[in-house]
Symmetry: C2
Subunit: 488 residues, 2 copies
């Protein structure tokens, strides 16, 4: 057996009990809210066939997937080097094909596996289908602070309904989850892909050559690469400098979510000015532009979302912002889009999502509209650490440690140990008869709140010493009193 | 985007909400017991470096590991075929080395990652360290009924103490977990590697050439390949036919766990007979044999384990069996070993474990004794399905569905929806105004126990119709009465 110093793969982490406790506190809070809103848990395998994943996340995604070596190559009963070498040679004699080497990869997100599940089980599923999924995903990204190669996603999606009630419920869930976690100062940014679509139509009608997705992907990067970076990217994609100027003028408009109409008017005025500014528009072009301006679907739906929130009794409109620079990087969004930012904390968005009209279309099942949201647990964890929001209950496990003085004290302690456990009090008896100081250190480091000291005196009197490890207080109590005091 | 029919990798599964609910019921029961006994959760990454995993599971394990293609080979910014082809050529010009292709694999069990964690964190950990871990593992085994390539293990281990209290607590936990799940008729088989070791010593002193591990691994297969298969395997490994006969004679002895002494005496008598039977033993050999028979460590520890169980007030000795054919396949066990079988159900063991003296030795940290147990959740699931043991509570999520008649009923329903949720009652409003039959089917298939019907009549009177979906009963109630009735 090798005795080299063991290490972890780059970009991966162990979670020790304290961290697992805190992470579970976040997971459980999210789960409770999802369930209260009628979402049910789904789990899919870590591996997916490459044919399912390839081409769904753009070129970058295909490159960053962790691919699994085919079994044929490592499953042979006689894997001598020559045999393996021969296999590789055989592969290389053929025109190069990665499928000879790998046919599976680790899942890259939870959305594509969800779409795959829906398509494969379309006949058994009752639509609308509300599922949540909390599982790790893997990306071979360059690791850096806050970016890992294995991380959890927490997704909730409804598919099979176009009702904007779902969007409203997403806002309610975002608000409830964060508030339950103790995060109070945050902003839910909202936009609609068709608001951005109107902008694109405008640019397109005036001769833009880039696609709408090019436009959305570029706008999405404003926070990362700044306006100048976005300008460069758009010009590279075939937009003119003049168009970018007009676009930026409109993107500088912003407003509260309650005052959608005001913003809509502002956007219309700005679009109108652009229309009038540009020479050489044909009459047809002008008519189309006027029509787009008259019924901008994006704004209509945003107003309906506001109406739902009002009727649901939602009060925290101050936490919502209509942000027309919000684009979201993923190509499949078609309706409302969301992103959540905690204010006054240096941290990217902690949640995001939106509506998609055709997610399952990639697997041959068209016209299944859905909307979903995803929580970034690693970032929420860091925010909660920074703001000191984890309650003590997220960190303790064992409630009582019984010390182990000597053989007779141990025999006396054994039934007491079981009595406490029978009352659902998590209890340990220190398993070895070592120095008391060592046993107390154990309780201390494991954050055990109570230590029960049993020596010959206690055995004689039946009065056991219960020490509160936080206050240092010590009481002499009968076992019945201890059970009563610690009852859960 | 490809539109081929999507599929799952062989040997993997999706878990739909109903199955996840039932699985979580098992996981939560196990977790609660682990925590009550002072175990804390640990999580390790899905990937481990191959240097950590290789050589830890025997030749078969090395072959059945799912290996991950190196990033260098699929992370290139310009992954044109030529470039990739060039990479492969480069690899093949060198003496063949798999590390050029793969340096990581998916974890194969939870024990080796646990040992790796302990060694890497030896200075931060407070020993004895009691951890539990519930995570999936991956094996490229040939899939068949009940055998998957991705499956969960539920492990609890204590390291850093030799106290047999830990073994006793493992028996208590096994008993508590299965009883809590409603499984009542099961047998916890117990043996000790050093009882088997005595048998080996006997055979060795009489000239056996196979190793002790050969012997244990062969005995472990009695259930799978039968006595004849084991005989063949042992003879292949260098044992004589005569030795195998003697061995089988002793292995046919069995007894209740309470009557360890009786069995010990029987084994001693049998060994004595063998000793006397064999001609040509030297005086030295006979002395050694006599010494082994006088203080058989295995039996001493089994008696101590029984003593602990007695003192802990354990009552279910009828569920324990001393089974000297129990060997467990893994090479690292050195002390007590356990295996649990549900009686009257066709199913292999649902749990197993034992003590190991030197698990972390593989990573250069010797002399850390530990003992652990592992639950097989897939098998427990199948047993519970067969015995119909899942409670209804493991399968329902949403409590109330509010029907959606028309626009005005929807507006009326929205604040009620939020009132129910505020009272922690998981509630949904059907998002679309479709036929009532379709909405009822939705409630039915999602096993929602109550449907709240709101039409114009109900809006006018304020008396809402609450339908119990199990009994079919319907009541007209004010919202306050409904809240009271459904309070959780």
């Amino acid at each position: 057996m090798s005795k080299e110093k063991p290490s972890l793969p780059k970009g991966t982490r162990d979670f020790n009990p304290e961290v697992v406790g805190k992470r579970n506190y976040i997971f459980n809070t999210i789960k409770q809210t999802f369930q209260k809103f009628g979402f049910q848990p789904l789990e899919t395998p870590a591996m997916e066939n490459l044919s399912v994943l390839t081409g769904k996340y753009g070129e970058e995604g295909d490159q960053l997937m962790f691919k699994i070596l085919n079994n044929g190559l490592h499953e042979k009963k006689e894997p001598e080097k020559e045999k393996l070498q021969e296999n590789w040679n055989k592969i290389l004699q053929q025109p190069f094909s990665t499928s000879a080497i790998t046919e599976r990869a680790l899942r890259y997100d939870l959305t594509v596996p969800f779409a795959r599940f829906v398509v494969m089980n379309r006949n058994e599923i009752t639509f609308p289908f509300k599922r949540y999924q909390i599982q790790p995903v893997w990306r071979a990204d360059r690791p850096q602070k806050g970016r890992y190669r294995e991380f959890y996603q927490c997704d909730a999606d409804v598919v099979g309904t176009k009702s904007l009630l779902c969007e409203a419920e997403i806002v309610l869930m975002l608000d409830e989850v964060l508030t339950s976690l103790g995060i109070e100062d945050f902003t839910i940014k909202i936009n609609h892909r068709k608001v951005l679509g109107v902008l694109y139509e405008f640019l397109f009608l005036q001769g833009a050559k880039g696609t709408d997705i090019d436009l959305f992907v570029a706008i999405d990067k404003i926070d990362k690469i700044g306006l100048d970076g976005v300008r460069k990217e758009l010009i590279d994609k075939g937009y003119t400098s003049e168009m970018v100027n007009k676009l930026f003028e409109i993107l500088s408009l912003n407003g509260s979510f309650e005052k959608i109409n005001e913003l809509e008017d502002k956007v219309k005025v700005a679009l109108g000015e652009i229309r009038d500014d540009v020479e050489g528009n044909s009459k047809n072009q002008n008519n189309t532009i006027t029509k787009i301006m008259r019924t901008p679907v994006g704004f209509v739906e945003l107003r309906e979302l506001r109406e739902y929130l009002n009727n649901l009794g939602f009060k925290n409109f101050n936490r919502l912002a209509l942000d027309i620079t919000l684009a979201r990087g993923l190509s499949y969004y078609t309706g409302c889009i969301f992103e959540v930012k905690v204010n006054n904390v240096k941290m990217g968005s902690i949640s995001g999502g939106g509506r998609y009209d055709n997610l399952t279309g990639m697997f041959g099942l068209p016209n299944v509209s859905g909307v979903g949201i995803s929580f970034g647990v690693d970032r929420i964890y860091d925010v909660m650490e920074e703001l000191n929001l984890f309650p003590e209950s997220a960190q303790t496990s064992t409630q009582v440690l019984i010390t182990n003085f000597d053989a007779s004290a141990e025999v006396y302690a054994l039934p007491i140990l079981q009595q406490l456990r029978a009352a659902n009090i998590a209890t340990e008896l220190y398993p070895d008869q070592v120095k008391l100081a060592k046993q107390m250190t154990y309780a201390d480091q494991k954050k055990i709140p109570y230590v029960l000291l049993i020596g010959s005196e206690e055995i004689a009197s039946g009065l056991l010493k219960l020490k509160n490890m936080r206050t240092g207080e010590q009481e002499s109590l009968r076992i019945e009193e201890i059970l009563k005091k610690l009852a859960v």
